[in-house]
Every structure is written in C-alpha cells, then in structure tokens.
Symmetry: C2
Subunit: 264 residues, 2 copies
C-alpha cells in the first residue's frame, strides 16, 4: 500500500469515519492543508454515488496535529448528475476543519471544450533539483518528488523574486500515480508562491477550494501557483495542475495569511 | 431604502431568518446566484462579531424562485480575528443553497501588500451603452448600471469573440453605493464570460466563492471576468472587482456548466 492511501484510509465507526493524520504529511507541526482536504474528499467519496470531486471547499478552523481524527459526513443533496455533501473533521472533540463539496462523474462529459491556457514552461525534470535531495524541508516534501523551476527558487531562500510564482513538476516519491483523490493534496503541496512576493515565516491556509476538471493520466503533474494580490497580509494563491498528456486536471484557489518571519 | 437593502432584509423568526427573494434580481425565472450569496452573507453578518466576509462559498442545490425563504445560520468557530459560520437557505421546506463563510475585519490590516495586477482597461462609462437602455435583458440587469467593454459584447449576441472575457463598469441603478455586503452580488452580476468562448443558452452556477479583500470606496466598480478552461461543458469563471480608487476589493471564482442554446 502506498503511503498516501494509508494516510487517507478510513474506518467506519459509530456513524463517523476514523482516520489517522500521518506526520509524514506535516508542514512543521501541522498536517498540510491539502492533505486534510484529501482526507475529507476520501470520506465524502464513501458516501456519495458520484466518483469525482468537482468542487471542494475546506475551511481550516483550528491547528490540527498528526494522530487520530474523526470525520462526519452529511449528504446535502443527492442528484442524478451532481451530489453535494458536507464533512466535519474532529480532533480531541473540537472541529478542526469543515468542508463543502459537490461530486459528479468526469467520465463521459459531452459538453463543449475551449482551453485558453497552457501548462507552465519547465525544464525537463531530470535537469532540476529533486526536493528529496535537499535536507531540512517540511516532512511532506519527502513524500513527494518536487522539481521546482530554477527561476522560482529565490523566495524559498528568503530572496523573493517579486513575481509571486512557483511552477514545478510533482509526483509521489513512492511511485503512486496521481488520481482525483490526490489532486487536493497536490493543489496545496508546493511552497507558497507568496514567498516570491514577500519574506514570510509561515503562510497558513484559511480556506482552500479545488475544482477537479479531469482524471489525471499516470506520470508527472505540472503545477503552476501564483499570488497576484497580497493586501494587508492576506493573499490568494491560484493553482493549476496539468497531467502528463498536457490536460488541465485541477484548478485551486486558497485564501491565506502571511506571518512575518521570526526575528533571529 | 434602496432596493438591494430591501431585497436582503432579514427578520428573526423561531431561530431562523425570514426573507423574500425579490424577482427584480432574477435571471429568467430564478434569482441570480450572487444575490442569493449576498442574502446568506447578510444573515451570517447578523450572527458573527466580525463585519467583513473574507471568504464565502455558496453551493446552489436546487432551483430557487422569487418569494419567501428562510435562512438558518450556525456558528462554526468564533475566533478573535476570524470566525466561521454556515448558512442554509430553505424554500418550500427544501434546502436550496448552502454556504460556508469566514468573516474578519478589513480595517486595520497591517501585513505586507504587493499587487501584481491592475483594473481592466475600459473606455469611460459615459462613452458606453448603459444596460438599462437595452430592452429584453434579465431583470437583474435593470437593478444595476452595467457598461460593458465594446470588445466583449459579441458573445452576448451569439457571436463568441473567443477571448472568454467580459469587463464592465458596474454600479447600482438607484444610486446605492457598493459595500462589502453587495460585492457577492456584483461578483456574479455580469453576463457569463463563457459566452465569449461558446454559444450557450444558460450557464448556471454550481458553486461560487468570493474573497472580499477591501471595503469599496463610493462610485463605479470595474469588473473583469474571465473563463479560460471550458472542459466538457464545465467551466470556471474568475472575477476581479476594483473600486473607484483603483483598489482590488474582491476576487471571485465559480464553477458553472454550459447548457446549449435551444434549437429554434
């Protein structure tokens, strides 16, 4: 079993789902927000008839820690093509995250298609530094294989480029292929694009919305994250995920807040 | 009293809020999605201590009609700087919309600011056609004064420009000034940008998220809406709202679905 699947495994218990947040997906002392969203998506997926999360919004309410959690899912509306549900994630009796999602079926969509964007331009992955070879990064980085565009590395060492962008190749480090269940994780797995706008110690997510638009093909994902509006310390981060066929597979947007770096 | 304020007025009744959806904000036979979101924001604003909706996600569950509705609000988390709440809007005993929101206080934000975008380039409003002078448009258009960029009008008459954009000046027709309470309405009040990608009969919103980033100054808003990814009939529409000082006041993103035009 791949680590992400173990980390999002759920057991039904008294009308809730029990799970364990894996410290291997931490950023500092807390689980990555995209990982928390993926766990909620897994729980909602057990309840709704439709297989694919079309839109998932997660509000982060309290600091979570690795260890046991419970997820409660309520069906909001069951429909023929789309169904909606809510998930509430509890730890130590307190609600740590709440999610609202609509699921559908991405196979057999027969409406019109018009694409006005393209995957980010990146050098081949084997010409780029693999995150696993860099010591001292957040735990989650070692579960993944990230290859960040060289022009976007400056902010990660405290020298913001000013462009507010981070583009990267992404895949699981253990060979697990990407799927719709893991896209919420990838949508929040890059370093904050805001590090290329301003010096920051910590950029916690307040709310994250992911739209899954297609089932990804096996292989590398290409991700492009961009922050254009940092205002009074609050910012949006917009993400695009593209699969190895060159198809857009997800869009994300999060509201986050910059905390200044600690004085040393 | 201005029409928008009457249309979002709430009366406490048995632990819920009673309101009346005003047909003046309809698109066809249903209330505009941004108007429904604004009504939910008004209800949540009565319950939380913080004044400003930082992020509001609305899921549209069933077709609503003008007339009486009830809104139930639950506090999800009360915090010092941010508080979260959920609202459920009922009509005829069925839930028609569910919202998840986080409120804060936009006054006195003291974090860093870096802006990497600009308001859309528009000819002066008095050189553009006022929506109120065009007959046969959806009802909501006459509650507003919309002045659409001439280059973006083609899709509205069935000739998509291909660019997927609609930029416009916007204000209330009755002189009411914009504020944070009305930004969710403006964020969904333009014609669908997808009309400049494909011919469509109807583009219903499935989910709408609005981030309010600043309190708007009095005067015209400038709005820019853009759809880049129409895939199998599903699309995102990204919106930016700018105030008369040239400050970004809100970002929006919605997931919507194109229905083909009726054969004539």
């Amino acid at each position: 079993m791949h680590r992400f699947d173990a980390a999002t495994a759920l057991e039904r218990r008294d009308g809730r789902f029990a799970a364990t947040l894996d410290a291997g997906f931490n950023v500092g002392r807390s689980p990555n927000g995209g990982y928390v969203a993926a766990l909620g998506v897994a729980a909602i997926g057990k309840v709704l008839a439709q297989p694919d999360p079309f839109s998932v919004t997660t509000h982060y309410l309290r600091r979570l820690e690795s260890g046991p959690v419970e997820v409660e899912v309520d069906v909001v509306r069951e429909g023929r093509s789309l169904s909606a549900a809510e998930a509430r994630l509890y730890q130590g009796g307190a609600e740590g995250a709440r999610m609202l999602a609509v699921f559908g079926d991405l196979s057999g969509l027969d409406g019109p298609t018009a694409v006005r964007g393209a995957p980010p331009d990146l050098p081949p992955p084997d010409e780029l530094v693999a995150s696993a070879d860099v010591p001292g990064l957040p735990e989650i980085v070692y579960r993944l294989d990230l290859r960040i565009h060289p022009a976007h590395l400056a902010g990660l060492v405290g020298q913001p480029s000013g462009g507010g962008e981070v583009a990267a190749w992404m895949r699981f480090a253990d060979g697990r292929e990407p799927d719709v269940a893991s896209l919420p994780l990838f949508a929040d797995a890059g370093p904050p694009a805001a590090l290329n706008l301003t010096q920051a110690g910590w950029v916690p997510t307040i709310e994250l919305t992911v739209h899954v638009r297609a089932r990804p093909a096996p292989g590398w994902l290409r991700a492009a994250f961009r922050t254009r509006y940092l205002v009074g310390g609050y910012l949006e981060e917009d993400g695009e995920l593209w699969d190895s066929r060159g198809d857009l597979v997800a869009l994300s947007r999060q509201l986050a807040r910059v905390h200044r770096p600690r004085e040393s």
